[in-house]
């Protein structure tokens, strides 16, 4: 067992050398690494946000709002479809709890025709990558008693809409953060309805959060000149076709607006921060696309002298009076902005609206100094642990302790090599995992050496004792490592963020230690046996 064939020796040493080369870039600052020759590996271990400082923000998309908006659209489409088909109807209503729009057809003769017309509103589900649900539609159109027709959102339809909403939210967030000019954000989908946004080393998290939290839905609406805003605000009952909207001021000012929007933010093609030519105060300028410009020109022509409101996310930003028709398709918003606010608003408008509100449900921010402290603390803990364990091993096993220490060092190197190669992220718990591995990984050698001691005591020759020690300890080593691996895998499977980092390093560390403590140390011991041909085992 102790005889190693040449190819095995080459293979083992090869793994060790490649490991050292792969781990090497982590020792140097990144500038030096860039200057290394091309044939050397350049990958360094990524540091987690808890080590380099940064923000981790988890958002949940508001599914109810998405459903409500969709039902609102369906209601509009039903109205349009029945009107086109010249079918009389009553009781067109939305039941959000049942994800349903229902309508009653006035005349029983029209029922089939109406059903056909409304059935066309249901669109087939795009199968895309999830080919399983075949032939489904996003709406169930059904006839009920009393000449009623219901349109219900299907689960598959909702899933498809959620997927679309998540994807477009990610795009929008990316545009906003890019416009803000920060370094490499990572924006990922998590689960069915969540988005994880991470940016390293950012100072002004609060402002960036402001950019993500706003839906960014812009509307231009007419102020109803007939209504008294104060009275409506007191009674909370706006006249039919109107709605009550407050301004973003403190205290909020109520406005009564026409429900239908003149032009919406979807028609915007550009938006930039600027300064008002006369007053010098910060403003946001915007430009419509051609259809938006035409509409805006027409409504401003028709309503000269009346106030209209610029509404962002259901808050009135400003409500200027239309002094003259705006024909050029561009305009400006002023509303007592600071320069920063004007800048952020321009980014919001430019990047388009989010499909639904994003609610932050988890947020972790680490300052750069705490990250640096953690790295320093982790480093010293690791070095001290390494030295303490190494000294103890020599005390316990003499020369063989040195062999184990060599294996331990190689193990540490291999862990870093593996982390660099697979592009894993090193977190503070990850460092804890490495330190723990330093303590645990000598276990295999302890098992082997204790075994060798027993074999020596039972009177075996050095060679036979060592051989038996290695081979008999093997089953125990595997058993004992498997149990730790099981709980590590569970941690990896269920853990998130930093805890997962712990599971990764612990798992890699244990796997590497099986190689170093068993194969590598056995090879070293076999070299030593061949060179010295000892009469007794110094253990």
């Amino acid at each position: 067992m102790l005889h190693f064939q040449r190819w095995k020796v080459v293979l083992i040493l090869g793994v060790v050398i490649v490991g050292i080369l792969c781990a090497l870039p982590n020792v140097f600052p990144s500038k030096t690494v860039a200057e290394l020759p091309d044939w050397l590996p350049h990958k360094q271990v990524n540091l987690g946000l808890d080590l380099q400082g940064g923000a981790h923000l988890l958002y949940e998309i508001d599914q109810q709002q998405l459903i409500d908006d969709w039902l609102g659209n369906i209601r509009g489409e039903v109205r349009g479809a029945l009107r086109t088909a010249r079918i009389g109807y009553t009781n067109l209503g939305v039941k959000p709890g049942q994800k349903q729009v229902s309508v009653r057809i006035r005349d029983g003769f029209d029922l089939d025709k109406a059903y056909d017309a409304l059935s066309e509103l249901a669109a087939p589900i795009n199968q895309g990558a999830f080919g399983g649900m075949s032939g489904g539609k996003d709406l169930d159109v059904e006839q009920a008693d009393n000449r009623q027709i219901t349109l219900t959102i299907t689960d598959a339809g909702l899933t498809q809409r959620m997927n679309g909403a998540i994807e477009s939210s990610i795009e929008t967030i990316r545009r906003r953060i890019d416009a803000f000019g920060t370094t490499e954000p990572s924006i990922q989908r998590q689960g069915a309805d969540r988005i994880l946004v991470q940016f390293p080393g950012i100072q002004d998290v609060q402002r960036l959060k402001g950019l993500i939290n706003e839906t960014g839905k812009l509307d231009f609406k007419l102020v109803d000149p007939a209504a008294n805003a104060q009275e409506v605000a007191a009674s909370k009952r706006p006249p039919a076709g109107d709605e009550l909207v407050y301004s973003a001021d403190e205290p909020p000012v109520p406005y009564v607006l026409k429900e239908d929007s003149l032009v919406s933010g979807e028609s915007l093609v550009d938006s930039q921060p600027g300064f008002d030519g006369r007053t010098g105060e910060p403003i946001v300028t915007f430009r419509f696309d051609s259809t938006g410009a035409q509409r805006f020109a027409r409504v401003t022509q028709e309503n000269v002298g009346l106030p209209f409101a610029i509404v962002l996310d259901n808050k009135v930003i400003s409500a200027p009076v239309i002094r003259e028709p705006i024909l050029g398709g561009s305009g400006q918003i002023s509303g007592n902005f600071t320069v920063e606010e004007a800048n952020d608003l321009a980014i919001l408008l430019r990047s388009g609206a989010l499909p639904a509100k994003l609610t932050p449900i988890e947020e972790r921010t680490v300052g750069a100094s705490l990250g640096a402290d953690s790295i320093a603390a982790g480093k010293s803990a690791a070095i001290i642990a390494l030295i303490a364990v190494a000294v103890f091993m020599v005390l316990a096993y003499g020369l063989f302790g040195l062999f184990a220490d060599l294996a331990l060092m190689i193990n540490a190197v291999l862990i870093f090599a593996a982390l660099s190669l697979i592009g894993a992220t090193l977190t503070l718990p990850g460092i804890a995992g490495i330190v723990l591995v330093i303590g645990i990984s000598v276990d295999s050698n302890v098992l082997i050496f204790e075994r060798i001691r027993e074999e020596v005591r039972s009177g075996k020759s050095p060679l036979a004792a060592i051989d038996a020690g290695y081979s008999r300890a093997m089953a125990t080593i595997i058993d004992s490592n498997v149990t730790t691996l099981i709980s590590t895998l569970v941690l990896f499977w269920l853990g998130s963020g930093p805890v997962r980092g712990f599971a990764v390093t612990l798992c890699i560390g244990i796997l590497c230690s099986m190689f170093t403590a068993v194969t590598f140390s056995r090879m070293i011991v076999s070299f030593w046996l061949r060179w010295t041909r000892p009469q007794y085992v110094p253990i």
């Binding site: 953690s374 010293s380 642990a385 503070l428 804890a432 723990l436 303590g439 645990i440 709980s487 712990f502």
Partner: protein, 317 residues
């Protein structure tokens, strides 16, 4: 040449099985105390599991004035606010309970920042966890512990006999419950890192239970006439040196982490240190004697040999 020092002398013969009356009593007492502590004090859940906001600041003043900070923050009317010094004298940890709505939760950090104003040199860490996430994390944590225990039970059952598996799980439960008891008694914050420690303990503590079991099985084959109690004692004594040594090296490593690894993962380290000690105890004093109680059979060694021979595994002779 230096041979190394045998920390546990060879031929050590400690009558562990003979002590099982005392050790079962001690173990039971620890379990009962832990459960009582869990009932009376309860776990001091961190924001990961309870929701809320955690803010770590360093103040401009070299010595943070906790009383002033406390009264400033209490004026904000944010409900439960805990303030504690953390590491350096000017380092302060602020914990704020969960607010009624996600909106209020979001506003909390802004309010605190405004109130503290320029007393703060740096916001070192800000964490806000909403109710959705904390409920999920509790659920996930429970599942993780159950799944890990279940998987280990299956593994031990597969590798040994069911009695071994039951004894191992009893030892594990002992370790986990006592670790939770420790957190309850000292009201240490139980957060994600502490949960990770509990899961690691589950894997690690079992590690040497399995090593002792391996030896018991081997000795069952070797000594056909030895009474069971003596056989278990012999097995524990034979592996005692290994058990103490590996636990000691792991303890050393985690101790280094505890002393020099910073405050952020302190509770992870405390839980691990406890788990390492109690893990060694439980494999010797709980799992192995329990095997005797559950009834061992002489023919296990034999079956194991035939199993091995059939599968052609290169292990053992």
């Amino acid at each position: 040449m230096f041979r190394g020092f045998s920390f546990v002398p060879p031929n050590t013969k400690i009558d562990f099985i003979g002590m099982r009356g005392i050790s079962f009593f001690v173990s039971a007492l620890v379990m009962v105390l832990s459960l009582v502590a869990a009932q009376v004090y309860g776990l001091n859940f961190g924001i990961d599991f309870k929701g809320g906001t955690l803010i770590e600041i360093s103040t401009k003043a070299p010595q943070a004035d906790l009383a002033t900070l406390r009264s400033t923050l209490n004026d904000l009317d944010l409900g439960e606010v805990q303030i504690q010094q953390f590491g350096e004298p000017n380092d302060v940890l602020i914990r704020i309970g969960e607010q009624d709505s996600e909106g209020a939760q979001q506003a909390t950090v802004g309010k605190v920042k405004e109130a503290l104003g320029d007393q703060v040199a740096e916001y070192r860490r800000i964490e806000t966890v909403g109710a959705t996430i904390s409920t999920e994390l509790i659920y996930m944590g429970t599942i993780a512990v159950v799944v890990a225990m279940g998987a280990i039970l299956l593994y031990v059952w597969f590798r040994f006999e069911w009695q071994f598996a039951v004894a191992a799980i009893a030892a594990l439960t002992h370790d986990v419950v006592s670790a939770i008891g420790l957190f309850c008694i000292f009201q240490l914050e139980f957060n994600l890192a502490a949960l990770a420690a509990i899961l690691t303990i589950i894997g690690y503590s079992l590690n040497d239970t399995v090593v002792v079991f391996d030896r018991i099985r081997e000795n069952l084959r070797k000594y056909r006439k030895l009474p069971m109690a003596d056989l278990i004692d012999l097995s524990i004594n034979e592996t005692l040196s290994r058990t103490t040594l590996t636990h000691f090296t792991t303890f050393l490593a985690v101790l280094a982490l505890y002393l020099f690894g910073g405050k952020v993962i302190e509770n992870f380290n405390i839980a691990m240190l406890w788990g390492i000690v109690v893990g060694a105890y439980s494999s010797i004093f709980v799992a192995s004697p329990l095997l005797l109680v559950l009834g061992m059979r002489r023919d296990w060694g034999a079956t194991a040999t035939t199993k091995r021979a059939k599968s052609g595994s290169p292990v053992g002779v």
